[in-house]
């Protein structure tokens, strides 16, 4: 019997991952979390076999016990900067594959810095969420050859929990990305882009604010896809969040002091438009396109009312791909090891996706 372990299964992301995995009918679910009552409640609400397990991932023995017997371990617990490669190592040691709805380049590198021998046989998929995740995966669908331009606009209005606010405030610096930068002719162009105010963008409601942020993920993508110029923006429905972040970063004091302001700013955004989240990518083929490549620009729009929940869907799809044997062994981000077309096809049929189009 295939056992799929889901850590953080009672959280916003985890609950959706559990629901989709149960729906796919891939095997028995082992659902772990710190609060056994909440985990048990999730199990009761889940059709098919689901076993609740109390586990604190800071406790190595509990973590080992959770992973033992799992065919694959799916981590939906955070915050990413604390989890890093802890769960991945435990899963691999237990002979399981690993999927992480969060995690980023630092986690991949942490795991690779002292790669466990099991990594030669098993897959460890990080960033199997919306951003990073879909933000690095979906643009690949638009690139049939070299590109003159690739634009990414990702964001909307979403609640930010206190925990996420800490993540947002900490994920800053060149390891994560560079504000106001573009990618041009194979290198980072600092200060190339200005923030956009009150602009209209396909797939976004009304007028929005877009802040240039060349993520490490997008820069890698630009190199891989042979893009002459890549622009990546984080989109907000008002300028409340960027203001709150700027205030926080201008202050040298402890981050915690600014958490409340970031949470409040997100609430203000939600009040303005209601919850929605859009990924918009547009690609312009190079002047000398590849044979058979159209010269017409192409666009991808994916829209959801809840980006956290959608991350759970992405993690579930990634797990399915791993179990189907479609992911090579090794530690990589989801954007670099999943099949973009297959993921997009599955997302298109998911009830959490309100719009999925390529034209």
């Amino acid at each position: 019997m295939t056992v799929i372990g889901v850590l953080g299964g009672a959280g916003t992301v985890g609950r959706v991952a559990v629901d989709r995995l149960a729906g796919y009918g891939l095997g028995e679910l082992r659902i772990g979390g710190r609060d056994i009552d909440r985990v048990t409640a999730v199990c009761r609400a889940t059709p098919g076999a689901a076993v609740p397990v109390r586990v604190d991932l800071r406790d190595p023995d509990e973590l080992r016990a959770f992973c033992t017997g799992c065919r694959v371990v799916v981590n939906c617990a955070g915050p990413s900067y604390q989890v890093l490669d802890t769960v991945a190592r435990a899963a691999l040691a237990a002979g399981a594959d690993y999927v992480d709805a969060g995690g980023d380049l630092t986690a991949v590198e942490a795991l690779e810095s002292a790669a466990p021998p099991e990594l030669a046989e098993r897959a460890a998929v990080f960033s199997a969420g919306v951003m990073p995740g879909l933000s690095g995966l979906l643009p690949r669908l638009l690139a049939a050859g070299p590109l003159a331009r690739l634009d990414g606009y990702v964001g909307g209005a979403a609640r930010i929990s206190e925990l996420s606010a800490v993540d947002v405030l900490l994920t800053r610096g060149p390891r994560f990305g560079t504000a106001l930068a573009a990618w041009r002719d194979g290198r980072l162009a600092p200060g190339a882009l200005a923030p956009l105010h009150d602009v209209t963008l396909p797939g976004f409601a009304g007028r929005v604010h877009a802040w240039p942020f060349l993520s490490a993920e997008f820069a890698r993508l630009a190199t891989e896809l042979d893009v002459a110029e890549a622009r990546n923006y984080t989109v907000y429905v008002t300028d409340a969040i960027p203001r709150a972040l700027a205030e926080a970063w201008a202050d040298d004091g402890p981050i915690e002091r600014h958490v409340a302001a970031v949470v409040a700013a997100a609430e203000a955004d939600l009040a303005a438009t209601g919850p929605y989240y859009t990924l918009l990518f547009q690609a312009v083929p190079a002047a000398m396109p590849a044979p058979g490549q159209s010269k017409a620009p192409r666009r991808l729009i994916l829209r959801t009312p809840d980006s956290y929940a959608l991350s759970g869907v992405v993690a579930a799809i990634a797990t399915r791909e791993v179990l189907d044997g479609r992911v090579e062994p090794g530690a990589r981000s989801a954007a670099e090891c999943l099949d973009a077309a297959a993921v997009f096809a599955r997302l298109s049929g998911d009830p959490l996706v309100t719009q999925a189009e390529i034209r």
């Binding site: 970063w249 201008a250 547009q282 620009p297 192409r298 666009r299």
Partner: protein, 661 residues
Amino acid sequence: MSLSRGPHDDSSVEGELSRIWGELLDVDPDTIPADASFLRLGGDSVLAVRMSAMVRRRLAVELALSDVTVEITLAQLADAVRRRRTAGNGAHRALPVEIEHRADPSAPFPLMPLQQGYFVGQHDGWELSYESAHFYADFGLTGLDGDEAAEALEDALARLALHQPMLRARITPQGEQYVLAPDAPGAIPRPRVYDLRESTPQEVEAHLLAVRHEMRTTGPNPLHGPGLDVRLSLLPGDRGRLHTGESLLIMDGWSATLLNRELLTLAADWNAVLAPLDVDFGDYVTSLGRLRDSEPYAADRDWWHARLGDVPRPPALPLRADPRDVRASTMETLENHVAADRWAALRDQCASREVTPSAAMLTAFAVVLARWAGHRRMLLNSLQLNRLPLHPDIHRVIGAFATTMLIPVELAQGRTFADLAGEIQRTFTEHAAHNLVSGVEVSRELARRRETTRPVAPVVFQSTLGMDAAIGAQAESAGPLGDLNFDDFHHQLRTPQVALEARFYEMRDELVLVFSLVAELFHTEQVDAAFADLLALVETLADGPGWDRIVDLPAAAAPDPVPGLTLDRLPEHDADHGDGPPVDELEQRICTVWEEILGVPVLDRGAGFFALGGDSLLVVRTLARIAKEVGGAPSVREFLNAPTVAGVAAAVRARLADARP
């Protein structure tokens, strides 16, 4: 790292501020010019917030939000810091805009909003536009010295062009303006003289008709030469005629009056010297540009924008042609005079009712329009010749200062004319109190919100009553040019985007009423009836009883939908070229050009140029770029007919297809 002292003393406020900017913007603090804006050095509004925070921490000075804009320079920031230090946190000082002399008087400066409209109009941009927007006039001269007059006029014009720089102005194809140095070739306009002293009456008449026709239909164009065209016809019997064509791109109606006075003063006396001007039009425009960053400007803009949802449509005048389909070459003029004694009586009536003559005339015009259109609530446009009092010499400067102001009018039923005029005067005053934002800018925003490219306020009111007093009296004699004779004064104004304009001005103690209109649009008998109605109403006001009568007005406030075309409901273009990503290279190139010009992403072929933040001047620049890049571009008018990426691409394709044999 340099050990030398930079331009900013390290201990000073400037020193600390330049270090903060250096950190924020990643530049060497010692190389930051005091007059470069935060924005220019790479700052943005978020960095500005961080800057305020750093100032608070390092200098212990609390800056108000209004102190710091992205356009601020290091020197201005230092001033703000000192002001806050000395004043504490309670001090709020309105940003006064003062005239600053430009370092280089020959440097290009931007067009004023109304100039932009004329500029675009000359590119065939608007419906109801002409090759030139200009004013033409001619008047008689008697007792002229035929041997001296030509030279006196040429000399006077040369001296005046030295005195008034805008007479040497040129407009660039990109829509900027600059003043030529006096010794630059072609800088000084020269009069053209026709000697018909030996001609027969028939020849004279044919000549005058020909000159008049030419100057009415072809105005001076400052894109290619002087914006002023002066001609003198020497006629038999020591008579003559002075013809002037004046481009509205370089001078407004106030300037036209000023030009006549000063030109004739100089012609009358070789030795006459005009009081020197300590300011020029470029200084004024540049100072107004700074005003746009000020809080009073933002407050006025917000005031207008808050009202735009309720702004009515123009009067529902029945039309016999869609303005889009009319290609007029001149505007027709209807004119009548109110005799001097009657005009004096009318002024007395106005004074005793405590309304200005202009407010009374605006009310009379609105009443006539209401009866003509069949409803009482409408949007009128007005031409404003007032200049912001930024400098004591400003009213003596020739330039295109004029601006416009929108006036929403609602005439209540069952009121006397005096009541209505009082109400209109209050409305007018209230709107004029927010005149830092011009009607051109407000109209642009209104059109954007209504998603229309049709004119939003094509019915115009203009009054210069009382203005002559501000300029000074006209001399009756001009030396070798003889005495002025306005008995057979010919004139014509041609302005784009105007369907009907009512003008009220004083001439030789008489009140002159004029309708200027695009005759092709209206039913002739309706225009004649309306003009007669206006004249009759004004006469009853001069008599007195007209003030206390209940004004007969239609019952409807808003127009009832009627079959046929009316000025308030012009059909929009319905050509829908679709949306989605650009479908080919051409559309993508247009997207890229728009992105560079508008500074926003252009990702959709259905994206509208104006919704993206474009304006008509940027249309001209965009078309120049497109022409350069793809070898052909549509006209401004074609662009406005379908101002989306896909629409413009379709127009470019059509243009390129036409160009092929």
